[in-house]
Symmetry: C2
Subunit: 432 residues, 2 copies
């Protein structure tokens, strides 16, 4: 492990002037404090190097990485609210991580899982004073704009060619990201038991890949909404190119304004932005949009138990996002005459999806840095690496919930059709 | 529709002397009251014939059946608390049903689903005064004795040859009950991802079919408990005959007393008797019994939303039983470091299972009547037919919940293995 740090060793090194502003040595108290912090998060096999090159470590195992602090202020901020301040300092370039970033974070997350029942009082107090953004229509618009309107050009750099920005489904682990996103679209369509001639309503359609895939391969008509103007424009263009303008309609609107009657309701990667308080309203809307034999699917990031969103992710990446446990999700179904047919947890598929995204992102880092800046690049690397760690360590789950109207017996007899090699019976010309 | 009723038309006719005790004609008020009751439950396509042969009907559709009331007292009891008193009167032989009993009940259940948000005040008041049995160890013993210790001879008359008294899995609808119960055992084993050499603990093992199947076909060792003495004795005898006494251990004990460490936890058809208040304790126990890579499955009757058990079923069939919604079930998993991997709803498979059971029960009615009495036969016919109707109408669900320790990544990559034709990789000599 090298004893000195130079900016050339960090691929994200930038204007932060290491050690220049804080030339003083770390005090014994400061080292003791950090040791205390490491103990508080459970003695991870991770070293910490302070701004004067002094090494703090409480692990008895071989360290898998080293967290490097640029200055004294960062230490004190971490002590106050580690969950928020780690991300802030990493984005600022005042924390660097030597070793594999997802792996280091995963170790930290696993240890934090174990001590989660005693979160630091200071962190809790700090979060109380942090204003949360809501998820009404206006707030939803702002929140979505924050993340999704970074520009189609940006996402095109590192997403798959269909621009699917949700968990893929790797039928076989060695699939490419492109193949796995198509497999995910098919997995959703099979769970929804789509049949030619049916109508689908989609709430939160991203760049339109699912709607287009459904119309193209399953013979259905789709009406899909999204409040991101850039995404809707892109989706319409894709539908036009595929010659599907008469079978797929993309509307720039909030899910709350959906009307009509459909055979199928689908929502992939939107629930995270709906807000717990609105789940019952979403379920009521879905139930009302469905025919008596209607079916639906909601695909969302989830958690094993109710707990607040990571403060940094909520502030910097997904303002207003809320991640439900299964019991919380049931607010959408249980009061609304809906019957849950199937819940699948695809956590490890999201880990793999994110590994693909991070690798692709790293390949285009320079381009991203030119458009945005170094802080943006570090923020996104931490978000992607932290998400890999969250799905690896079991902090986050990915749930697909298939449902139907409570009284309908027009439901799949088994789930075997989800695993049949092709859907020749649906569309003779169909193949993945 | 015949105008008069003679006991020979009802296959369950017995000593009840129709009309002899209550020779008076139904009054205008009584007929009006009944009309009101029919309207209150939503004008079902069902006629009612009173004790003086007068016909009451509010349906505009073709009636699918006729409910026949023997006397005035029955009408008044029904008016007071229909959910409880229908079952009581049917068992007494004071209500008879012409037409297909499951179909008539299903129609009633569907209509009641729609008006469930305004249950009769009288019914609710009546239930408040009905003492509920608890589910501590002593109560559990009494409750289980009430239902499961009716005698192995009784259940042997109409269950499959392995004595599996839980929902079967009809891979194909035309399977026999015997085939479908084996398919269910395999479905559970596949979901649990059993591998040779692993250890399994089973909470509530019935007559031992799952434990024996696991040891026989998946190369695992099983420790299984049950508090029903008759069932444990039967299970031990089966294990002895199969030459599996060294690989399957049946213990007569409560699940709360299970100790040790196992790769797999299984519980099929026990949660119904555990009681909501004990779910967190059950999940804590399961979590504590599992290795860090441990997996589990709970199979239970469920509901789409929390609501009280039908009062008659709770009183006469399953004292102390409580049927959870998914959100209620989550009390077992969310507080206990467990991650839900897979939930499947097999509601229609239970309908079919019960259809098999009712047909077999009807074939042996005379034998059952000789051992018990006519009231017992009617009670069980109503229970089986009512259960068919409950699963048909969506009042009841059947959930299989597969789970793992939260931090374990040793989980199945997809669910495709649940649908592979055979498990040759597990046991070369294995086939259904």
């Amino acid at each position: 492990m090298p004893k000195t740090i130079s900016s050339t060793r960090d691929p994200n090194a930038d204007v932060v002037r290491w050690r220049s502003h804080f030339p003083s040595r770390a005090t014994r108290l400061e080292r003791a404090m950090f040791r205390r912090f490491l103990r508080a998060i459970g003695n991870p096999p991770i070293e910490v190097r302070l701004w004067d090159d002094s090494l703090v470590s409480t692990t008895r195992d071989k360290p898998i990485g080293c967290i490097v602090l640029a200055d004294r202020a960062t230490l004190w901020k971490l002590a106050f609210d580690p969950l928020l301040q780690f991300g802030e300092a990493y984005a600022d370039g005042r924390i660097k991580v030597e070793g594999d970033l997802p792996q280091v974070l995963s170790v930290i997350f696993r240890i934090m899982n174990r001590i989660r029942k005693s979160p630091t009082l200071s962190g809790r107090v700090a979060r109380i004073f942090t204003p949360r953004r809501g998820s009404d229509q206006q707030a939803a618009l702002e929140n979505v704009h924050h993340h999704y309107d970074l520009g189609n050009d940006f996402y095109q750099l590192w997403l798959d060619d269909r621009m699917v920005y949700t968990c893929a489904y790797f039928e076989r682990p060695e699939m490419t990201l492109e193949q796995a996103q198509v497999a995910k679209l098919d997995h959703v369509c099979r769970k929804l038991w789509l049949r030619p001639g049916e109508t689908v309503v989609e709430a939160g359609c991203g760049w339109g890949a699912l709607a287009i895939h459904m119309a193209q391969h399953y013979g259905v008509r789709v009406r899909a909404c999204n409040i991101s103007r850039e995404q809707i424009a892109w989706a319409r263009e894709q539908a036009r190119r595929a010659g599907l303008r008469d079978r797929v309609e993309f509307i720039e609107d909030d899910w709350r304004n959906l009307r009509g009657e459909y055979d199928v309701f689908a929502s992939v990667g939107m629930l995270e932005h709906v807000g717990f308080d609105n789940y019952t309203q979403l379920g009521e809307l879905a139930s009302g949009l469905l025919t008596p034999q209607g079916r639906g699917l909601i695909h969302t990031i989830g958690q094993n138990f109710p707990q607040p969103m990571n403060a940094w992710i909520e502030r910097r990446i997904f303002p207003g996002a809320q991640i439900p446990s299964i019991s919380q999700m049931m607010d959408a179904f249980e009061p609304n005459d809906l019957s849950v047919l199937d819940i699948e947890n695809l956590r490890l598929h999201y880990r793999k999806t994110l590994e693909h995204w991070l690798r692709r992102f790293d390949e285009v880092q320079d381009t991203v840095r030119d458009t945005f800046d170094d802080r943006f690049v570090r923020t996104w690397r931490l978000y992607l690496a932290g998400s890999i760690a969250a799905f690896d360590s079991g902090c986050m789950q990915l749930f697909q919930v298939a449902f139907a109207k409570a009284e309908s017996n027009e439901i799949p007899w088994t789930r075997a059709h989800q695993y049949s090699p092709v859907h020749a019976e649906l569309d003779p010309g169909y193949s993945i």
